[in-house]
Symmetry: C2
Subunit: 226 residues, 2 copies
Amino acid sequence: MRKTKRRYLLYYWPSIPGRGEFVRLALEDAGAAYTDVARGKNGVSTMMKVMERRHLFAPPFLIHGKTAIAQTANILFYLGPRLGLAPQGEAGRLWLHQQQLTIADWLVEVHDVHHPIGSGLYYEEQKREARRRAADFRASRLPKFLRYFETLERPRGITYLDLSLFQMIEGLRYAFPRAMRKIRHRNLEALHDRVAARPRLAAYLRSERRIPFNEQGIFRHYPELD
Amino acid sequence: MRKTKRRYLLYYWPSIPGRGEFVRLALEDAGAAYTDVARGKNGVSTMMKVMERRHLFAPPFLIHGKTAIAQTANILFYLGPRLGLAPQGEAGRLWLHQQQLTIADWLVEVHDVHHPIGSGLYYEEQKREARRRAADFRASRLPKFLRYFETLERPRGITYLDLSLFQMIEGLRYAFPRAMRKIRHRNLEALHDRVAARPRLAAYLRSERRIPFNEQGIFRHYPELD
């Protein structure tokens, strides 16, 4: 009997790239068989049911056979060696995961620029505070994270970390085009372009599977915050 | 030749419990041999040098032989099976790590209650915004996280997740005593008491190695925010 690989089921909000996109990029780059469940018919209601039944805190989550995994960085830790996007050994896997966790921290800060008071409130209810937080983010946090990853020595070969850094640069260019032009990050720009040119990813980025950035997501372009 | 176990070197800010405490609780509960480097002579300057040389983003980090590991949840993922505080199998380890990552998210939100605008600014520079964020945290986020962990089915036996939940309850009681009395979380209270009664931890909690909560840390008691 031929061994069949189990299909990956990805669950995430269908209208934004958000955290789901970091998982999607890995699956797409590897050419893995997956279903983006919440983008199908009754997708969100299915997602909410699975989330409750399996006592998961929030999307994204991945179902693979009997395994349910939540938390973006944890999903990538699981997928990495299976998709050929991470080393197999413990030390290399932990190092990569450590970087991904710092990206997760960075992403929270990107989100909180437009939602400094509460994620359950509208942006319009916290615009004044968002302006203050944005000033601090542009002056202090954005340069710190960019410098850290700009000078990080990454292992040879493409990993899910590289795909995630591509997505960070994409999102930051969308949200903060002016601020991004002011901060030097040539290595990350070169990495961005190498990742975008990978054949499977280039095809994906042109496809309808790629959800455009928008003002419901984590990366939002509000000119007054840039 | 007798096999010698390598000593763990923990690096974290010496004046606050903060994120380092989650690692310290695991090391203490297991009776592991470790040095809390930054609390020794010239400790902080040593920590900063090691951090720069190894290109680490932030404390806490752990050095164990040739391995350097940053990110609290990643450190616990590494230590868990070594200290007998996590299952050995992949599925169990990933599940536990997933919960720890949700605790990490929770902790960022606890911090941002008193620092909604920027971690580089003083609390006094963002008091007005902190009041608004605190109201949202008490009304929406704190109940959500407590309910999630209150109803989470944990595996038998003590893991580092249990120790971390103990520390969350400790810190939240310190920072938000009024809010915590209003939200039911009996299972977590019982878990808290079981953890506090473990002989090695009980001795640790009475010792000077345990750093008290204070208004420089993540859990801060500002009556106006409770």
